[in-house]
Every structure is written in structure tokens, then in C-alpha cells.
Amino acid sequence: MEKATSLEKPILRVSVAPHIQQKITTSHLMYNTLIALVPALLAGIYFFGFASLKLALICMATAVACEAGMQGVMGRKLTIKNGSSLVLGLLFALICSPELPWWTAVLGVAVAVILGRGIYGGLGNNPFNAVLVGWAVMKISFAAQMATWIMPEPLFGLEAGGYIEYPPLEVLRLDGVDALLDLPWRDLFIGNVPGAIGTVCVAAVLIGGIYLLARRIITWHIPVSFLASAWLFGLIFWLIDPEVYANPTIYLLSGWMVLGAFFLATDKGTVPVTAPGMIIFGIGCGVITMIIRYWGGFVDGVAFAILLMNALTPLLDRVRPRVYGRVKQVA
């Protein structure tokens, strides 16, 4: 460009419209998700000690390394800076037991990044939630290592909740409804029970979820329909037979339910994008979760419910509002 005051022989940049862009980038979406996960991680550290932080760091480092390696091998643009692999690694750590051996974590994250996402073309193009693909592979292959639970030992303040020795859903499955009658709901809500690092403290996960909603990173459709449908489904069975089926609120406050609704079931690319599609997706997740919890082979159904509904996503994207100006064809 020559001296700007004359514009005599300017070299003009030509580009297509529009000529302004929103400041939101993929990194913005990803780092905000990361920020939203911090309360859950802090709660994990508070209840299970610094082993949780160690596991989270291992998972995040593995995810970034695998992503970089994968993109290097495939000769693609390096996109590790956008933070998506950090989110993947942290989410994987948060749904695991703090006692998980490090090699299991590394293997699981590698499967998630490479088989769950990389081979489909990277972020947003994978059909199934990559975190859950990695987790499911490990859950089936290394069932024993994935099911070692420790008691919560709060670093300060609270007394350790000693009512149950297994995560609440396992107690329900093994010992029936009566075993949980003494468990205060407050312990469930703040996470003073055994369980995965990031899922025990429902309060912390809710804070993160509300942050995501407030920053408009996600919309309300999936979390609300997920939680509401699970609760209503549970309510029906609780009313039918409270001896067999626990209070639906206990189901809502235990296991992965809230983390799944806000973080796993809103994973970009694997969920529908239309509003009606998202609501059906959320209802499907909630109902299938409860079905697996009641009668399924796994104790917590959130992961498989989301994976099943992921498979329906292309269909659910066909459920859409009427397009502007569409008229019925007249023969």
C-alpha cells in the first residue's frame, strides 16, 4: 500500500461479505468450557486430594500430545491451541475415579483423541462424543481399574461423609433403596460421597453449567430437557413403587447426570443443532439414562445414553422449524 493520503495506486484487499465478524472463535468456546469445568475439578481436589489434579494434568497433557501427533501424521493444520483437546482431557479425568492408574488414563485419552475424534477429521466431525468413546472402551476393557472408588476426605472444613462406601448408584443397585435412606441429600449435592472426580459435587458442576448458559456457549434445550425428562421418568416409577425405585431427585443428584447434561450431551458436533432436535435429544438421553439405571447392565447409564443418542443426531437434525418462505408445492 502506498502513501495512504492519496490512494493513488492502492492495493486493495478483496474479500467476500460480510466485512465484520463476531469476536467469538473456537478457542473462545473451548476455553470458556474449560473455565466452566474448573469448579468441578476444584471440588474433586477438595474431596479426593491432589491425586485428582495429577490425573487431570496427565489426561490433558496426553490429549494435547495425541492431538498434535495425530495432526502431524495426517499432515493437517495444528489446532492444539484452540483448547479443544484440553477440554477433552479434563472431561475424561473428571468422569474417572481419582484412583485410576496413570496408564489407564493415558490409554483412554489416546483412544478418545485418536479413535474417537482424529480419524473422523478432528473437532466437530466425529459422530460420537470422543470422551465417552474413550471412556467406554476403557470401561469394557479394564472394568476392574475403572471401578476402584475411594472415600471422600475433604481437605478442610467438612467431615468426611461416611454413610456409604461405594458411589450412590452402586449402593442403590447392590443394596436397594433402603441403604440410601440415611444419606443426607446435602452430601449428595456438595459431593461428600465416593464417586468420579468431577461428578460427585453437583453444586460445582451446576455453577459451571450456569456459566456456560450465561456466556451463551450452550443453549438451555439439551440440559433442561435431559434433566427434566430423567426426573419425570423417575417420578413415574417412584410413584408406582417407592420400595424398588428411589426418589427421582436422588438419581438427579448422583452419578454423572448433571455433568452429562451440561457438558457431555452438549459436545459440539455430536448433538443436533436445531431447537426441536436438541429437545428430543435431551429427552432421549434422560429416558435412556434412567432405563439403564433401572434395568441395564451398567450402573450409570449417562455415557451409553448419550452415545446412543449421538447415533440419532443426523436424524434429529431433520426435525427443524419451517424454513422462511416455504410454500407447499401445487401440482
Partner: protein, 446 residues
């Protein structure tokens, strides 16, 4: 009439041209007047090289109903008649007039003709003769809005019913749709008597139609005008500050609740006519003053120029000359945009004349100028959340990117109103609007 105000869209950064004044740009030394609006709609020149023309003199006309006549915008000598590049690089036959600096007008142009006892049939030829063109898109001569061409004979024989629907609602669009545009709001305050006169003329032209004046959230109707509007039975629609309310399909939906039947329909099919507030002023000048359209109000803005104002620019003034006359470049303008920031065209050269279709010029510095990336879509759904046509732009952009145009058409690509919101919100900065236009173009050629 009850208005709706819910539609999907985005809040854009505020307008940069806040000054409602309209200044006359200096008289250019040379004007380049293209003889048509598109490649296949071109006038024949009625002047010869070397001939002396006066301001407002007819220099090109055509028998085609959809071609507006062209008038000289300065007085001077015709030096050349040759092809000249238009906005998109097409060569358009153009008449080049060197100004003599006197700006002497044709004698028959006189102010304030009394149009009150004229009938609609007498008014329309005046509108056509003045060559008033709607800014668009699509830009078309104003008279074509009020007279629908006869349906083709064979089709009429088959169905036996007339196809044209009478216009029952006229919307005067006073909403500056995009950042960088400010002319309509300025016109509403500066030319309020013309707006009232324009509404009277429209009432004559169209007969019994409901008139609605749409103004933006920052645009206001001054008190003498609002009184007159009430007397004329005009409703005022106060829009909120959300893009793309100023675009015709969405504005029509909000005001009347009707949708233009896409892909082939026009606003006439649903009995609506939208008239730009700036065009309305030209309409008044054409009918009341018998003055052809020789100038255009252009909003000049951007960090690359100091003179952020609305200018009344003579048609055919080259952007280069305009910049030199305003002498206010600053920073390093690297991108010059004709039109608004959302849908405007980036100029490849400053030797482009100001035409009836251009309503804004934006000079962007390197810091402002955006670019797009070739990265893959991450299916985040932001575009779907904001699409005012309720399309799935993520899917459409992928179809167009990989040349699956038929599939894109089945997914309603042709219903896209090209507002540009998908590209504005895209976190991967994909050239969404470009891909849509590309797909539409390929389909139109198939």
C-alpha cells in the same frame, strides 16, 4: 395492523455514521455513467461522442420495461462511450462525460409541480422517465414495483386467472440495515416534507393500500412529520435494533406477517411493496420537480477515512475522485466496501463509479479488515441458532463446499436471503455467505 417483532438475528455493533446531516459532495470533473443495471439489461446511448450535454439530459434509454433510463449527472462534453468495469468486474457500456463545471440544468426541470390533481396513469410515466432505481437487492427500476408485467400468454391460457395480486400494503423502509449505512435515518429527519409528499404520491400510484413507515430503534420521526403521517393514515413501525430487520424479507414478515414465497416469489406475489426511504425522496423529485435521478445519498464511514458523513454524490463520480475531493483518508485503508458491512462488495479498484445501487462506502484499515479461513466446520450450531430463514447453514455450506449443489437445493439453499449472519457468527470464520452465493450461482447455471 399488529406488528410482530420476533425473528432470529444478531445485534451488530452500532452504526458508525451518527451524524444525520447530508452534505453535497463537490461536483466531479468527470463522471462515468453505466448504461444499465446488469449485464443483460442495458440501455442504448442516445448521445454521441463530442456532444454537449446538460445536467439531467437523457443519455441512454431502452424499450425493455425493466431497464431504467440514464441521465447525465453533470453538464459537459461526452468524451467517450466505452465499457467500464462495474462492482463485480463486468464490463458495462458507459458514457463518460467531462464536466464543464457549470452544472447547468435542462430547462424543463422546475420545482414544485402540482401533482395533486394528477392521476396514477399520468404519474407512472414520470417515475419511469426519471430513472429512479431501488437500491435493492435486487435493484430494479421503481416503476416496475407498481406495475407488474403481463403474465405470459400461454400460462394465462392454462389457468385463466390473472396472476398479479394488487398491492395492499406499502412499507417505507427507513431502517438502516447494516453498520455503515445511515442514509435512511438521515433522510427521515432532513427530508421530512419529501417523505410526506412521497407518501401522497404512493397513495395515488397504488390506491387504497395500507402505508407503514418502518424506522429503526435509533431513527425517530420528527414531530411535524409524525402529525402529517397520522393525517395520511400511515402507521409507524418502530423496529428494534437487531439485524436483519432492515432487509426486506424479514421486514415484510414483521410488518405484515406474510412471507415471500421463495425461491421464485417476489414481494408482489404477496401484495406488498417495499420502498426505500431514500428512493422515496428521488420519487418525489421525479414527480414533483420532474427531476431525473442524478445523485445518490451515500454514507461514507470506516476508520480509514476522516469524513464520516452522509454525502449527496453525483452519479458516476469515481470512488477515487470522491476520496480525493473529500481528502480525508487516514490510517491505511486496505479495503473499500460498496454497501453495508454485512452484504457489501469489496472493491477491487477505486475506479468504480457511484451508481444508483450504492448506498454506502466503507473504508476499512488493516486492523478492521477481516478475512476468512478454509478450516472445516465444527458443527457448533451458532449459525443455525441465528439464521433468520431458519436454515441449517452449517450443512448447506458443506454441501456447497464439496459441490453437492442438488443436495443443497433439497435442503432449501434457495431460501437463503443472504443476510450474512452465518458468516458473522461463525467461530471458525468460514466464508459461509460466499459458499451460499456460490452454490446458488452454480444452480442457476445448471
Amino acid at each position: 395492523m399488529g406488528f410482530k417483532t420476533s425473528f432470529r438475528g444478531v445485534s451488530l455493533p452500532p452504526q458508525k455514521v451518527s451524524n444525520p446531516a447530508i452534505e453535497d459532495a463537490p461536483l466531479p470533473k468527470k463522471v462515468v455513467l453505466p448504461l444499465g443495471q446488469s449485464e443483460n439489461r442495458v440501455c442504448k446511448p442516445v448521445v454521441e461522442v463530442g456532444e454537449h450535454v446538460k445536467t439531467g439530459q437523457l443519455i441512454g434509454q431502452s424499450d425493455d420495461f425493466l431497464v431504467a433510463p440514464v441521465h447525465s449527472s453533470v453538464s459537459g462534453t461526452v468524451t467517450e462511450i466505452r465499457p467500464w468495469s462495474d462492482l463485480s468486474g463486468n464490463k458495462m457500456p458507459s458514457v463518460i462525460v467531462e464536466s464543464d463545471g457549470n452544472d447547468s440544468w435542462l430547462e424543463e426541470i422546475r420545482a414544485h409541480e402540482d401533482f395533486s390533481d394528477k392521476e396514477s396513469a399520468q404519474l407512472l410515466p414520470d417515475v419511469k422517465a426519471a430513472g429512479v432505481v431501488e437500491t435493492g437487492p435486487p435493484s430494479m427500476p421503481l416503476h416496475a414495483k407498481f406495475t407488474k408485467p403481463e403474465p405470459s400468454k400461454e400460462f394465462q391460457f392454462l389457468v385463466g386467472i390473472p396472476q398479479s395480486k394488487p398491492v395492499d400494503t406499502v412499507i417505507i423502509n427507513g431502517i438502516d440495515a447494516e453498520p455503515g449505512m445511515a442514509a435512511k435515518g438521515a433522510v427521515l429527519t432532513k427530508y421530512s416534507s419529501e417523505i410526506a409528499d412521497g407518501i401522497r404520491i404512493l397513495q395515488k400510484l397504488i390506491g387504497s393500500a395500507q402505508m407503514v413507515l418502518a424506522v429503526g430503534s435509533n431513527g425517530s420521526v420528527s414531530s411535524p412529520l409524525s402529525g402529517e403521517l397520522a393525517g395520511l393514515g400511515v402507521q409507524v413501525f418502530q423496529g428494534k435494533d437487531k439485524y436483519p430487520l432492515g432487509l426486506n424479507p424479514i421486514l415484510i414478515k414483521c410488518v405484515t406477517g406474510r412471507e415471500i414465497p421463495l425461491p421464485d416469489g417476489t414481494e408482489q406475489d404477496i401484495g406488498v411493496a417495499v420502498v426505500d426511504a431514500v428512493t422515496l425522496v428521488h420519487l418525489v423529485e421525479a414527480v414533483r420537480d420532474l427531476k431525473p435521478q442524478v445523485d445518490k445519498i451515500v454514507s461514507v464511514s470506516g476508520a480509514g477515512i476522516t469524513a464520516v458523513k452522509n454525502y449527496k454524490v453525483r452519479l458516476g463520480t469515481l470512488v477515487q475522485d470522491l476520496v480525493e475531493q473529500l481528502a480525508g483518508l487516514q490510517g491505511d485503508p486496505v479495503k473499500v466496501i460498496a454497501g453495508g458491512a454485512m452484504t457489501g462488495v469489496a472493491l477491487f479498484s477505486t475506479d468504480i463509479p457511484v451508481t444508483k445501487e450504492i448506498d454506502a462506502l466503507i473504508f476499512q484499515t488493516a486492523a478492521e479488515a477481516k478475512s476468512f479461513s478454509p478450516d472445516a466446520c465444527i458443527n457448533c450450531g451458532l449459525c443455525v441458532r441465528h439464521c433468520p430463514s431458519r436454515l441449517l447453514p452449517n450443512e448447506l455450506s458443506k454441501y456447497c463446499e464439496f459441490s453437492m449443489f442438488e443436495e443443497a437445493r433439497d435442503k432449501y439453499l434457495l431460501h437463503c436471503i443472504e443476510c450474512g449472519i452465518c458468516a458473522y457468527v461463525c467461530p471458525e470464520k468460514r466464508p459461509m455467505l460466499h459458499l451460499m452465493r456460490y452454490g446458488k450461482r452454480e444452480l442457476s447455471l445448471a
